[in-house]
Subunit: 136 residues, 6 copies
């Protein structure tokens, strides 16, 4: 079994807050990530898939096809968006990196199965210091 | 003369648009950077100062002091902010990286002169592909 | 289960040698890493923790809290130190990256359990070419 | 058990194509990677080995020795080569990154066992966006 | 005056050799860069332009437009090519990074003047250790 | 005129202090950089040279030769050393990055002139946040 990873990226705004809580309570939980007028990041996304190498082509999968799939279903919806307001598949989700990786996994997993391979992990680098990875 | 650079960073939301123009006109100029609900970046800021090395200490300047100056006057105001709404020294400025470097230069230049050295350049990396530098 | 990684860094001096051996014997084992007057590195430390996402906050853990824990118990003791001479929790340990990862694991593991989550791995990048990871 | 990784690199030309197929059929499978006159990459290679820390030296293995092994058996054959034409151990293999990781694994695995430790993974970064890893 | 840099990249094969010289003479000058069957690199290209900020838009230039210009006139011709054989604007040029930066400068300079701004420098990173920059 | 840069690196220990001052006075000037038992860094060194491209070879200079010169005269003396104690050409110099760049410039400048080209700058990255450059 071979593991192949494609890196993509998107720039987005977000804000971490729980609607039922006051500004002060949100600040106690989320700190400046709950600032009222949003902030943002250059997110880096690593999608790792796995399976057997095709003995004819030497590919697990043509990475161009994987890249197109990730761009059309994930990156085009997230890039230059507001993660709290603009993204249907993130609706009612607090856009922490944890929740982002899970939502992206749930969205990509069946589509990658359709390609005849399996999704192994979704990794998001929110800043160079903060990284989240999800294996389903 | 020696050149010393300090790297700092901040995460912020912004949107590029001209108030007098329609959404469509703004999109023609700024593309998805004018999306209505903001987006954001991990900005990297390089501040380069210059002057003579102090023969006693071997320093141009203690970089800790320079870092504190940049943090208190620039980073603390920009980090986890909305560059269009939250930052007094960016008021009425379209927050392009070009305008950001100039605004940061104007703010830091006299303060760095007070330290007995000179500001050489302000560089901002908005994404790994887009970089702006200003030398006054 | 979600995996969250925090990156920290520290600058330190060290020397690799076995006290009972001669300079020449040490050089045969450790090469220039056994040079008498120390050398040093910018160490990069990755701490990965794992557990379930809190459905209320969308966090595994507030990374600020994890960062404070790593800084107060690890980084503040190692940064700008001599790993052979200055660090109580490294006493009598040859400060290879292998031993460093294990010592940091042993120190952090119970403290991270106290936060209600689990330590997954400690990774140290000594130079861009040499990396060590420990999973307990 | 500890995991130690050594990073090496090599620059090489290659071309992805299946001899029995026409130029057009190859282009449909491999895109511009099948261009007739070759192209090339700066490949980054990560070799991860695992085992127990030697209680006397604090090393899993002297990384200098591992580096020499990788250089003499892998890097010296691949660096500044044409992966399709010049490398005996890649003969009759389409030099995709998938096949490269497997061929390097097969070549290194017994040699690393001879050192008393075990090979854990071979990772190749072909471009910053395309990464392949193999665990045997 | 403001300086704006766009980063692009391309993967290509090349070989350094002088036609009139023997293999041995070429090897004495170019080392393994003259290997007969080509080798290749992931080239990183930085194009820096300069001029005045447009007071209406806050842009020196829309970087998307600059990127399209670089891609259509430079990257599309170089990416996945053989620099010795495939590129009309490199004909009869030994494809060292020095010659590459000059050839790209000569090709881009008038086109960038047409945009109402000026080309400042062309920088090529052939490997992380070898960098060439040209200012006209 | 073309500018060519070679990147090298070295790992070293150092300590910043003025012999005539007390520990406390040194701490007030240098902070933890004056800690008694040394600390260290992975230093990155960029040497930029300039001149005309050789029309026959397309090189400013064979970078292999430049690398050998830098390694034999600079890196081999600094790597795995104590900058305060071990390096003859740093004797009686407080090993700040400012003083390091100047000492390396003074040492390399005449040797590079002997190669028929000119030294343009010496840049040292002490940590990713602290960078010093000297142009003579």
């Amino acid at each position: 079994m071979i593991y192949v990873t494609r890196k993509e990226s998107f720039c987005a705004a977000h804000r971490l807050f729980i609607e039922d809580l006051s500004l002060e309570e949100n600040f106690n939980i989320f700190g400046k990530c709950s600032n009222f007028n949003w902030h943002g990041h250059n997110y880096v996304l690593y999608v790792t898939v796995k399976g057997d190498v095709d003995s004819k082509t030497g590919f697990l999968i043509n990475l161009k096809n994987l890249s197109v799939l990730i761009k059309t279903t994930i990156v085009n919806e997230l890039d230059h968006s507001n993660l709290n307001l603009d993204v249907p598949f993130l609706k009612n989700i607090i856009p922490t990196s944890e929740n982002l990786t899970i939502a992206i996994w749930d969205r990509l997993c069946p589509l990658i199965l359709n390609l005849g391979i399996r999704l192994h992990s979704i990794k998001i680098i929110e800043t160079e210091n903060n990284i989240v990875e999800y294996f389903g």
